[in-house]
Amino acid sequence: MNENKNLYGVTALFDSANEIIHAAKEVEKAGYKNFDVNTPYPVHGMDRAMGLKRSTVGFFTLFFGFSGTAFILLFAYWTMSVNYPMVIGGKPFFALPSFIPVTFETTVLLGGIATVVGILAVFFNLPSNNHPLHDTDYMCSVSNDKYGIVIEAEDPKFNENEVTELLKRLGAKKIHTVMNPGKESFPIFEGRFVVFLILVVLVVCGGTYFTLNKVLYLEPFDWMLEQDKLIPQEKSTIFTDNKGMRTTIEGTVARGYLPYPFKGQTIPTETLANPLLPTKKVLEFGKGKFLTFCSPCHGNYADGDSRLHGQFPNPPTLHSARAREFGDGMIYHIIVNGQNTMPSYETQTTSEERWAIINYIRALQRAKNAKPTDLQEVQKELGVNVK
């Protein structure tokens, strides 16, 4: 072992590839373990001369490459068959042949990245810009056109004189000792650099904020927020009445809006009959339409408890005897015609919707004025034995 704690090792330079191969062999033979050869390019046969084992990088690539394969296949399986299965081009959900391209690419991608990161970080232990050999004449020479060998002080057999002697005997041109660098100084902690970093952070943060919050909402990056269309209830300057929502043109009949024969009469002597049966589907449909068109004034259960907070006179309850005695046709008539303050809903609702609403009102009325016999009906329906 060496006495000088600060000594890194002894370096020697040679002029030709033949010499360095010879030197490496001899040093190996002399029993040194911690030595290295530095050459401007890989010299053939050096691995054998130095007694190095085969490189194991290949296993790294193999492992990560196949991890990529496995990952992408599982990913394809999960996304395309489990998480969001969709039939595409009549293929099965897990269509292996058409996943081959991405599988191959991912294998290569992961294998390649792992190889590069692996050799640099794991095999070479880079980056290592503070290695004692840096910034020496030795390094400059082997970077250019010389061939060097270095025997490290860490070697158990190391003895400065013996090593120098051996290298001289091998015909080295220049022999130097290399010291470990003193205390490391980290230029990244220098004031100037810290200020620079803070500036970078500010610029990046500011730029990101500006991009994400301002730029992305400008035209044309506005996420399609700006759209040249009218939304319901919007004003439009195109029409003279400034209404964005249009009503049917006079003299035309739209689908589902057959003219109502008793229009304008206050109390028609004759009314239409309800063509819809109160099936579950019709009631569901009617409920939706009732909640949309009628409930703002009449309340969710037709109690006349308007949701408009007095902005419009409250209508009477539809559970009154009067309203219950109305024929379906009469309510239909009120919807189409309006009644006193209640406006006409002729343009907003189709006749099918009106009949469905009426069925739903009937259901509400019956529910609010249920008789004991109704309860029996319900129980019968539910299959509960009453007696």
């Binding site: 390019y41 998480n83 690419e105 390649g112 070479f124 980056p127 290695h131 840096h134 970077s143 044309p220």
Partner: protein, 457 residues
């Protein structure tokens, strides 16, 4: 001019010593840029600016600024994409496939070709993104968990494309960088400027030319070459799937993958020769990028050019042999229809002119080869134009036939893509070693041990 083809020509001519190689290669980096360089840079960056303006117009007003519309929905955007991706293929072919085939001559041109690959793929990658019209949403192309609960469709060739091109770019970049690490170390130990030294130190990662590293390094280099070889073949195959998996007559053919790969190598080599002809002259590298190298590349151009020619012929044969009326119409329309001029430009540039490379004189004459490779570049651009536009403009329903006419913005973006590519190439030539220093040293005469004397192996 007698050339002896029976022995392998020296990779490095003029008996250069290692230190001289080092000096020649690093000189362009260390010298201040000359007038000619600045002139070239200003021209290419002006083109780039024109392209940038046209792209800006596209983003602002939408892709309606381009000439493509029904029925030609894919035009310049995709033509340029396929063209530039193709250019990239030569680099990987030289750096990976020729490496595995132990073609030593590749060392002189590999670095440059790899750089061109990277720049060409970057240029190419822009096109699909700007073609979407909303390029800032390009992230949607990647499979990531999102609030819509949607995933990309892994059955779609367009998604394969995203995977292929991004993998290709990443692997090429890594391959290129890993090759540059020892050169950065050499530059680091040569330079006297403090700033440069810091930069080189960062990028060289503290490389020490240690043989314990070289050992893994060489292995890793070979592995990367092994990975890149099928990769480069897959990329243009997948690009061709964008067309071949459709049901459009003129696209729906099984010959597309090999045909595209051959075409890519063909066009890529043409571009490499185009650029290297200048580089070796301007940077006095005639001894490192030798005439023999150029001649070899010309031979590859000749070979791949004939493959492409075969594919052109075979397409016609299959159209006739299939008996499908629509196929037959598309090919007759290609050769004699309104875009016949484009078709015959393509055939003459890609098939006829490269035949001149049968003559040794032309193969080894720099001006002659320059003219031919420029024609090949033009021809290969037109090949993609012909495939895309002439197949789309007249398909099944004559009532929906139409013509494609490029707009000024289209042309501006095409010009801009050349601007981008050449600006990057020029910046590269002045900032990084254009030839791999360590690789060239390794193949210089007398650099490897003779295994004589006391080497009993």
């Amino acid at each position: 001019m007698e050339v002896d083809y029976s022995t392998e020509a020296a990779v490095v001519e003029g008996n250069l010593r290692l230190a001289e190689i080092d000096r020649i290669i690093s000189r362009p980096i260390e010298e201040r840029p000359g007038k000619k360089y600045l002139l070239a840079l200003s021209i290419s960056s002006s083109f780039l600016l024109i392209g940038a303006i046209c792209v800006g117009l596209t983003f602002f007003y939408g892709v309606g600024m381009w000439g493509n519309n029904q029925p030609v929905g894919w035009a310049f955007g995709i033509v340029n994409f396929v063209f530039w991706i193709g250019i990239g293929h030569a680099g990987t072919l030289i750096s990976a496939i020729l490496f595995l085939l132990r073609q030593k001559w590749r060392t002189g041109v590999a670095r440059f070709a790899e750089a061109m690959t990277i720049f060409a793929v970057m240029t190419a990658g822009l096109f699909p993104i700007i073609h979407t019209g909303r390029p800032w949403l390009a992230g949607y192309l990647t499979p990531y968990p999102n609030q819509h609960g949607l995933w990309v469709n892994l059955n779609s060739p367009l998604v394969w494309d995203v995977f292929a091109v991004s993998t290709y770019f990443t692997i090429s970049l890594l391959f290129w960088y890993i090759g540059l690490v020892p050169d950065f170390a050499s530059l680091r130990d040569k330079t006297i400027s403090k700033v440069k030294k810091t930069i080189y130190s960062v990028f060289s990662l503290g490389w020490r030319h240690s043989n314990r590293h070289w050992q893994h390094y060489e292995k890793a280099y070979m592995i990367l070459a092994g990975l890149s070889t099928p990769l480069v073949l897959s990329v243009h195959s997948i690009v061709s799937f964008d067309f071949a998996t459709s049901i459009l007559p003129g696209w729906h053919t099984t010959i597309f993958p090999p045909y595209f790969v051959a075409g890519a190598i063909f066009s890529g080599f043409a571009m490499v020769v185009t650029v290297l002809v200048f580089v070796r002259k301007v940077f006095d590298m005639e001894n490192i990028i030798t005439l023999n190298h150029l001649e070899r590349m010309n031979k590859i151009i000749l070979a791949t050019g004939m493959m492409v020619g075969y594919a052109y012929g075979m397409e016609f044969f299959i159209a006739w042999y299939s008996g499908v009326q629509y196929e037959q119409f598309v090919f007759i329309n290609r050769a004699f229809g309104p875009y016949a001029w484009a078709y015959w430009t393509m055939v003459s540039c890609n098939v006829i002119f490269p035949q001149l490379f049968w003559f040794r004189k032309i193969r080894r004459s720099v001006p002659a080869m320059f003219i031919i490779v420029i024609l090949v570049n033009v021809g290969m651009w037109f090949e993609r134009f012909v495939i895309i536009v002439s197949s789309l403009h007249r398909d099944f329903l004559p009532s929906s036939w139409g013509m494609f006419v490029p707009t000024l913005v289209d042309l501006g973006i095409l010009l801009g893509s050349f601007g981008l590519f050449f600006t990057l190439v020029l910046l590269f030539a002045k900032t990084l070693p254009v030839v791999s220093i360590s690789e060239i040293k390794a193949v210089a005469p007398g650099s490897q041990p003779s295994h004589a004397g006391n080497h009993n192996e």
